[in-house]
Amino acid sequence: MSAALAVGDVLETRRYPVTRADLVRYAGASGDQNPIHWSDRVATAVGLPGVIAHGMVTLALAARAVAEWTDGAEVVELGAKFTNPVLVPDDDTGALVEVGAVVKKVEDGRATLALEVTCGGQKVLGAPKAVVRVDG
């Protein structure tokens, strides 16, 4: 831990771009090769507005923010609902996922972070939460 977390702390928002190339690389690295994450043809055929990021990419970026804020503290709980899709256009910029957090609870050597994960100003995860181990 680089710094102690205290209840009420607002952690600095992290911003992560996600491009189509990132989705293809994630598909390979994770094994999730669902074509809705790389093919507009398949995505629109099943009623989606276009290629969307894997929900697990968005949740993983939330976990990345947690790791950066806490200097790699051990995660004991992580979860969210995938309430809105992150549409990733086929251009060089992609989508920008923003992750913020407030420390809700610190007790018994654990800190609970209430996360907020947005894209284009819209929440994309429902009630995202992480619990990490902290010293003391």
């Binding site: 994770s30 074509p35 099943v46 929900g55 697990m56 950066e68 790699g72 992580l78 995938f82």
Partner: protein, 139 residues
């Protein structure tokens, strides 16, 4: 097609043992820009196991992956995954309901190590989009 309601409560065979290689964890972390020092894997890495278990389940019940969108995912960890772990995942169907022509499939998967000890438990909600092509609220 809709999913057979008798699946609720059914436990599927565990996935084949998967040896966690540092190179694979590093590659996974790199795709996300996640800091990685060669030790504990990023928190979402166990999805590799859970996803394999889900794929086997979908294949067995005859559901196309392209009709699945992810509704929810939660992990609780006993310990981090580290290179050298030999892991398997066992999936159980925990719930099934229908909303607006979509099947909402609840699953839980337990990821265990070579000694049989629980490493992480994860629950997923899978939205099986009906052929009517409704635009659901889920990503």
């Amino acid at each position: 097609m809709s999913v057979d309601p008798s699946l609720v409560g059914r436990a599927f065979a565990p996935t084949a043992p998967y040896t966690v290689a540092e190179e694979r964890v590093r590659e996974f972390a790199a795709t996300l820009g996640h800091p990685y020092d060669g030790g504990a894997a990023p928190a979402t890495f166990p999805i590799v196991l859970a996803f394999e278990a889900m794929n086997a389940f979908l294949a067995e019940v005859g559901v196309e992956l392209s009709r699945i969108v992810h509704g929810e995912q939660r992990f609780t960890y006993e310990r981090p995954v580290v290179p050298g772990d030999v892991l398997t995942a066992g999936l159980t169907v925990s719930s099934l309901r229908q909303i607006g022509g979509n099947d909402i499939i609840g699953t839980t998967s337990e990821v265990t190590d070579a000694s049989g000890a629980l490493v992480c438990a994860t629950s997923a909600t899978l939205v099986h989009r009906g052929t009517a092509g409704t635009t659901g609220d889920y990503a």
